[in-house]
Amino acid sequence: MDLTFSDTEAAFRAECREWLEANVPHPALPSGDTAEGFARHREWERRLFDARWAVVSWPREYGGRDASLWEWLIFEEEYARAGAPQRVTQNGIFLLAPTIFEFGTAEQRDRILSKMASGEEAWCQGWSEPNAGSDLAGIQARAVRDDRAGGWRLQGQKTWTTRGAYCDRLFGLFRTDPEAPRHDGLTYLLVDLHAEGVVVRPVERLDGDEGFAEVFFDDAFVADADVLGNVGRGWNVAMATTGSERGLTLRAPGRFMAAADRLIDLARGVAADADADPLLRDRVTRAWIDAQAYRWQTFWTVTRLTAGERPGAESSLVKLFWSELDVRLHETALALLGPHAELVDAEFAAWMKGYEFSLSGPIYAGTNEIQRNVVAERVLGLPRK
């Protein structure tokens, strides 16, 4: 056991910190979940990419640094610590890219990955439908074979596609065999949102940003080259992706550590009521400890992954922990702000926006109710029925 970073890793951290200090935009960019903000974020992504910070863990040929998992975690710590912008490319990078690395053809990798990493092509996910939320296997959007054109024709609707209104392409599951059982007959397709027959309708989220979209397909065409993995095997292909969404990749500890540190700053700054103060101090301390617990549990897990283990159902524990920590952390900030918390145009208003965002954590990527089922059944071995 050695809980120190190597000299190489320390050097990586220093390089990363230096670049971020010199480059992180101040004042902060407008929300990337608005049209204007998204454009600004795309520019930021391009700068990251050009400096090879966009996808540090990817191979160099696609713009990465072949960084180790540890270096990736260091990058995420530094990125969050620097208060750098949200990553509007994250759904592509963290959800789709691992699947492309695993299931994609060489042609797909070459055509898609670098443009995804640079933000030139922005990707959104297309899992949910009005009748397929927690029950993802209830997908009804169809892809009908068009042999003459060499591809598929889409019919139906996707919903809750994050930043769908601003993205260029969508990845998701479509039903290619309506006769097959629920989990079969699905195919993983890569769809051009600018194509004919695609209509994107922005949907406003809690915080007022149009961060969601509904996507309607009416005979939209997807070429065979944009099938990821085998036709009819989409469920298995997608599970690799939702595995990453629920697990390590989307929620590196750096974000929560940085938030806990900002919470401490807030607590120090707020002249809270003398009586309430010790209770709020305790809540701040709990949030900070939880962020530390998340960090060390991640390091514990990453050590095993580095030794070749595959992440298992334990990733549901990870999702439960970070999503509920994030809510508690923001609730504590709002409690510190008291009657000022409701303001959305004040300097501290990021806490309310962050709270609203945190509330989505226990819902998306498999509700926490589903995650607790997974923990009970697949980690603890309790009977399904």
Binding site: S128, N131, G133, S134, D135, G138, T159, W160, V203, E204, R205, L206, G208, F212, D273, D275, A276, L279, L280, L334, A335, L337, G338, P339, H340, A341, E342, L343, V344, D345, A346, M352, E356, L359, S360, P362, I363, Y364, T367, N368, E369, R372
Partner: protein
Amino acid sequence: MHFAFSDDQLALRDAVRDLLTKECPPSEVRAAWTNDSGRCPSAWTALTEMGVLGVLAPERVGGLGLSEIDLVLVLEETGRCALAEPIVETAAVAVPLLARRGDALAADLVSGSSAAAVHALAPYAVWADTAATVVVLGAAQCGVVAPVAIGLSAVESVDGARRLFGLDLSASLPWATVESGNDAEVDLAFDRAALGTAAQLLGLADRMIEMTVTYATERRQFGVPIGSFQAVKHHLADARLALEFARPLVYRAAWTIAVDDPERAVAVSMAKAAASDAALLAARVALQCHGAIGYTTEYDLHLFMKRAWALAATWGDAGWHRARVGRAIL
């Protein structure tokens, strides 16, 4: 011991509920997010005509001469529909304060003008730009000022229907009337505001639970209504539990104010703490059980949820009120 409302009180409650069902559906609250005033004028007019603003005013100024016991049920209804109007500030705070002082403004308020109110724990004057008067509940200083006479600076709330205005309480204010050194008057007005807010939080909690039960009964996943899953059931049972035990505390607090009971402060603080917690829990459970649909502003839930967030934190949050109880009992 008789812990129930009279038939007259229930009839008033029912009349207000009927009125608000008609005049303040979610579409009206939604309209308040975007209109100039942030208010629901037709509901306000109808409530005024019903005499609701004067529940606590004596008949000589056009009031109904009733008590907080009558008012608490009315305010609960205004919470249930997320009415975007300063009814707590007007009917619960300004009217009884001004009526007791013999201020002529009381009659104006009873007949439809509105008041705003500020306090260290409610530092933003809500809907102050359209108010006839602002009640300032300072430490040991209690007075009213005309909004036109002070500089109001608009700030934005997460609840788009709550039009907030900051004002500089440390500056010398152009008082219309002022009474200094009267802690008791400030405390009473504060307790009425906290009670009224607690009542609205009950209504909000009830409404959010009701919406969620309806949704969970209709929404199907895995071939069954999601409300048949034990996890969803238990979330909603917890929300209902908190509401069940908050409500009597709020009603009892109303009684302590009405009869000037010596336990008033503790009773009000228990009520506000319990109602705030119940409403925040109901909001949390409602959103979680709705899932993504509840996370959009196209769906109505957010109108109630954001009001609950704001009201739970104002006029003393649960932590502040529990600390007040703690000081009294420990």
